[in-house]
Symmetry: C2
Subunit: 257 residues, 2 copies
């Protein structure tokens, strides 16, 4: 497939996705970002052009991938004439319909993963969720997705939103808990290092067991002495103390069913 | 080292630790548990003896490892005469001093990991934290720990309690969030499977980056539209809705610093 892509957005997702596409032979002809540094860096690493001006967005793209913060999608797209070219966003939470105003050919290309600019990920196993307004566009997006991943499926906007919420729990909130753990350890000068094998094993465990069955720790054992002692110990971290309390209660409630 | 161990407790930790010891040539001469099935199963897999009666606990052990629920430690130990043999507990939260009543030779042997009976773990990288009431006992426990792990250190009871609290966040609460994510997906018949690459990558990321810098998602981007939409979507999961809200706030607060 010889297709020319334009990337609108140059953040974590745009960086990783455009790189994965280029590695499979797709051509990224331009990167747009409002932030010059981001646009320049990504274009540089892809050896392509960049612009920070919506007026200069290249008209000859076959597909326009929108990978900006959800909050600015409308603001950016409303300034561009896509001439009914295929316009695709990569957001978990935005419905397909947000693109209807801007082109007659629209789609969603949502890779379910956490991306950072500096950490390369193997797209092969990343689930990619496709949605489109026509069978022809859907088929094209599926074919493209299958070039970079073995795990491609079609879902509607409603299911995708739920996927995104579940990902917030399983990734964003999880990572915040890693941060909290690191913060607690720091108060006694203990390096975060000590938690790494535990963190990895916790994630590996649920690759094979249902998480419901993998649960360990004082809350699922209803060990109230430990919970009280821990809450007491967290007196100097009031915010973490409240979280400890409400999550322990949530575990209690889940398992008393 | 030719040493005879007695295990008091036959749960997740006892199962994995006694097996690791036996694999390195230590002899487990007996397993005690109040639950016959647990005692029998573990003794069976170790090809050793078991008892469910404190009166029948073997007097010829060199070290007695206590790996029961914290809440029952006192109840069980108060019925046994250890004849001042080395008595060691494996708890993150109990101080060393809880053992003072029961022997003149006491210690702590705390492997920082999540254990399940059916999932074997490689002890090699698991941090093991040692504490004891004498240099001689401490040295012996360190030597034993080094037979099964490359990551052995000495910490006092106060630091160990904090290690345990951080592990509750980084493992137990994290796993509960995997469960919540699975539960949310189930409501739309989406298999948990789709989250596995994300979960693994989230854990792998912090093996190399500080968790603080690995944070992604709507909360750290201050994307209030998405957060509102997610909270709205969670109307049918009131408990998860509250957690979503308080953790998003915690992320806000952490990064606005």
């Amino acid at each position: 497939m010889s297709l020319n892509f334009v990337f609108i957005g140059a953040g974590n997702l745009a960086t990783q996705l455009s790189t994965a596409f280029q590695n499979k032979g797709f051509k990224i002809i331009q990167v747009y970002s409002r932030t010059k540094e981001s646009a320049k860096n990504l274009a540089g690493s892809l050896s392509t052009n960049f612009t920070t001006s919506v007026q200069d967005i290249n008209k000859s793209g076959d597909i326009y991938f929108v990978a900006t913060k959800d909050a600015v999608v409308d603001e950016v797209l409303s300034q561009i004439d896509f001439n009914n070219k295929l316009l695709v966003h990569c957001s978990g939470s935005l419905p397909l319909s947000v693109l209807e105003k801007y082109s007659e050919n629209i789609g969603v290309f949502y890779p379910l993963q956490t991306f950072s600019k500096t950490r390369n990920v193997d797209f092969n196993e990343i689930p990619i969720f496709i949605e489109s307004n026509s069978e022809k566009n859907e088929e094209l997006l599926i074919r493209i997705a299958k070039q970079i991943s073995d795990n491609v499926s079609v879902v509607n906007s409603e299911k995708r939103k739920l996927l995104h919420i579940s990902a917030v729990f399983a990734c964003n909130f999880v990572n915040h808990f890693y941060t909290i753990a690191a913060d607690i350890l720091k108060s006694k000068d203990i390096p975060f290092e000590v938690l790494k094998p535990l963190i990895l094993e916790t994630a590996k465990k649920v690759q094979e067991m249902e998480p419901e069955k993998a649960q360990t720790g004082p809350a699922v054992r209803f060990d109230e002495n430990i919970i009280k002692a821990h809450l007491n110990e967290l007196n100097e971290f009031v915010n973490y103390q409240q979280l400890y309390n409400s999550i322990s209660k949530s575990i209690f409630e889940y398992y008393k069913k």
